[in-house]
């Protein structure tokens, strides 16, 4: 089992992830071409202007209205993307398998970043249960997605700390991580890919067509 996770599953996960994203991107681009005014509306200047305002923390009114949520959300998204890429344990695997070397995070920092992801996911789940306007639009799938995002981080952290037997934990870690990658193109996690387009489209409409701001 461990060998499978260490070997073929990594391939399956990456091919599935990139293949899935490419497939979704191509089919979406075809669909967009059929809508007469969608592509011509995109405007580089105003699209990027809007994107910039929604990528820089506190550049938008709504972000300034809820500082804790904004900070946590940014911390979560940075940690969830950066930690797996720059984790020393992962870097070792890259080097062993393919001889690729790259910079990795000091252990203490990686541990902190992992805890940020876990804390943020727990916060998001509690927020879903506590805030009426969020609970009203929360489905089982929303909770499962939060748990799915959390799973590789929790299992990886436990395995690293060796609080529980290492091998089973690392198997759970590998499986949940692979599942996570494989599901991104087919669930709402795909917002990581569509976000720049939905934002830039709205920015183009607000800026180029309506001469106003959307933040």
């Amino acid at each position: 089992m461990y060998e499978f996770i260490r070997g073929p599953l990594v391939w399956i996960a990456f091919i599935g992830f990139f293949g899935g994203l490419a497939y979704r991107f191509i089919t979406m681009a075809r669909l967009a071409k059929k809508e007469r005014v969608v592509l011509p509306t995109f405007d580089a200047k105003y699209g990027l202007r809007s994107l910039l305002h929604w990528v820089v923390p506190f550049a938008g009114v709504n972000m300034r209205k809820r500082p804790f949520y904004t900070l946590l959300s940014y911390a979560f998204h940075i940690c969830v993307l950066v930690t797996p890429l720059l984790l020393m344990g992962h870097a070792v695997l890259w080097q062993e398998s393919w001889g690729i070397r790259w910079w990795s995070l000091p252990e203490g920092v990686a541990d902190m970043m992992t805890l940020v992801v876990i804390f943020a996911c727990v916060f998001f789940i509690i927020r879903r249960l506590v805030r009426p306007e969020v609970r009203n639009v929360s489905f089982l799938s929303d909770f499962l997605l939060a748990l799915l995002v959390m799973a590789p981080f929790v299992s990886g952290f436990i395995a690293h700390q060796q609080w529980l037997p290492y091998k089973p934990m690392i198997i759970i870690h590998g499986l949940s991580g692979a599942l996570w990658l494989l599901l991104i193109p087919w669930t709402r996690l795909v917002h990581m890919m569509w976000f720049p387009f939905t934002r830039a489209y709205m920015g183009s409409e607000f800026g180029a067509v309506r001469h106003s701001k959307d933040w």
Binding site: L31, A32, V37, N62, N136, S138, R210, S212
Partner: protein, 443 residues
């Protein structure tokens, strides 16, 4: 929890139409719109929304109803479009009744929420998609459908007949001449610089606004004209009822008339949705990225006249005045600074609202809402509490509303919440305050 009184409202346009529907027709219609009339945009919106609820605080109906989660923008999509998609169009009459209430009454398609969604998801577009589906099913509030019928038959919103149109213009020309000798309303003047277009309710119930504008044009020495036949009305309630075919016809005729008159630009009266229809929604349906001739909203035109000194203010109004930023010309055109320039030029004591500019609250009357008529008025008022508070806090005696829907909507708010102030168009204040040329003058 949705206000139970609101759910009990009976509207023949909604309920009698639903009674005639079959499950097959409902399913087929919904799936047709979801597969043939929508595409990448809707799909990306549906998949990207992570149900975070950050849009909630943007919506005046949510805030006004004590943060009732059912009135959050995302909840309005959840209870309509998400269900239609999930059930693959297999929804029942009760669902449609509810969807009609949400899409036609609780959301004014003002797009404030799009500025609060981190992803820029256009909830208004999704609600308009629901309206489109309901329209194809014949489920539209009766009063709103009547205005759409009028557009389809007469090409104006208020069943104004051809002879009435000409007669009203001549009558207003005479009235204007009493105020300022030599004022004309030139009809079908080919090659004029400006075609002035207005909305149906002006000749029907607010005819003096036409005379006001004629006086302003006269003082400014403008080279302008109005069409004598159909195409003069730039309003478009079909856009809001989901009858996009009729919307397209209305907009096409309006632009064709302007092209026939060979004008350089179209100046339009103080209306918000008409601007949206003519510049944005209409052209999109017709497959144009922009209108064929530039369109200038009255606010922009007044700004131009005041800034260039073509009209001058003789005496400013002294009483406290505030201004409503109409969604469709502020979020929809960024005219807030020009609007304030104009208002400050006319008024001594201008008191701004908070929040303002693009972040103004919608009057919950535009977007076709007020056109849904008396059955829904009380429901609308409940969604308007925040607007009433906002106006009250300014202490103003007059609320300037450079938009017909804002004008009627805020008049309702003032009555319902007993605010003790009144509403006014800019043109009404301009004719009282501008420097008129000395008596006399040639025709």
């Amino acid at each position: 929890m949705v206000d139970l009184l609101d759910t009990q409202i009976i509207d023949p346009g909604v309920d009698e139409s639903i009674a005639k529907l079959t499950p097959e027709r409902i399913e087929k219609t919904i799936n047709r719109v979801l597969t043939e009339e929508t595409g990448a945009r809707l799909q990306a919106y549906l998949e990207t929304c992570i149900h975070c609820g950050l849009c909630a605080d943007s919506c005046q109906s949510y805030i006004s109803r004590d943060k009732d989660p059912d009135y959050a923008p995302v909840a309005k999509v959840k209870d309509t479009l998400w269900e239609m998609v999930k059930r693959k169009g297999k929804v029942d009459g009760e669902f449609l009744h509810n969807a009609a209430r949400i899409a036609f009454i609780d959301c004014g398609a003002c797009r404030r929420c799009a500025m609060y969604c981190p992803f820029g998801i256009d909830i208004s577009y999704q609600i308009m998609t629901v309206r489109r589906i309901l329209n194809l099913l014949g489920v539209v509030p009766q009063y709103l459908q009547d205005t759409t019928n009028s557009h389809a038959v007469t090409m104006n919103q208020m069943w104004v007949q051809q002879d009435d149109w000409i007669d009203t213009l001549m009558w207003q020309e005479e009235d204007a001449q009493v105020e300022l000798a030599g004022t004309r309303i030139p009809l079908d003047k080919e090659g004029a610089e400006i075609m002035y277009s207005i909305i149906g309710p002006e000749p029907k119930i607010l005819a003096q606004l036409i005379a006001n504008m004629a006086i302003i044009f006269k003082v400014a020495g403008a080279d302008w004209t109005m069409p004598s036949t159909d195409g003069w009305d730039n309003s478009n309630m079909a856009m809001y009822s989901g009858d996009f075919e009729t919307m397209g016809r209305v907009e096409r005729l309006h632009w064709e008339r302007a092209m026939q008159l060979k004008v350089k630009r179209v100046v339009m009266g103080e209306c918000g949705h008409a601007y949206r229809g003519a510049v944005y929604d209409g052209p999109r349906w017709l497959g144009w990225t922009k209108p064929p001739i530039p369109m200038v909203h009255a606010v922009e035109y007044y700004y131009e006249l005041l800034k260039s000194g073509r009209i001058k203010i003789a005496r400013k109004i002294e009483e406290p005045i505030t201004v409503q930023d109409p969604c469709n010309i502020v979020r929809g055109r960024g005219l807030h600074d020009k609007l304030r320039y104009v208002v400050n030029a006319i008024c001594e004591d201008f008191r701004d609202m908070e929040p303002r500019h693009e972040h103004n609250y919608c009057c919950q009357a535009g977007g076709g809402l007020i056109n849904c008529g008396p059955p829904w008025k009380l429901s609308r008022m409940k969604s308007n509490r925040i607007k009433a508070d906002q106006i009250r806090e300014t202490g103003a005696h007059t609320v300037i509303t450079p938009c017909h829907n804002c004008h009627s909507g805020i008049e309702d708010i003032i009555g319902h919440y007993k605010l003790g102030c009144h509403v006014s168009f800019i043109s009404e204040l301009l004719v009282k305050t501008i420097e008129m040329p000395d008596a006399g003058g040639e025709a």
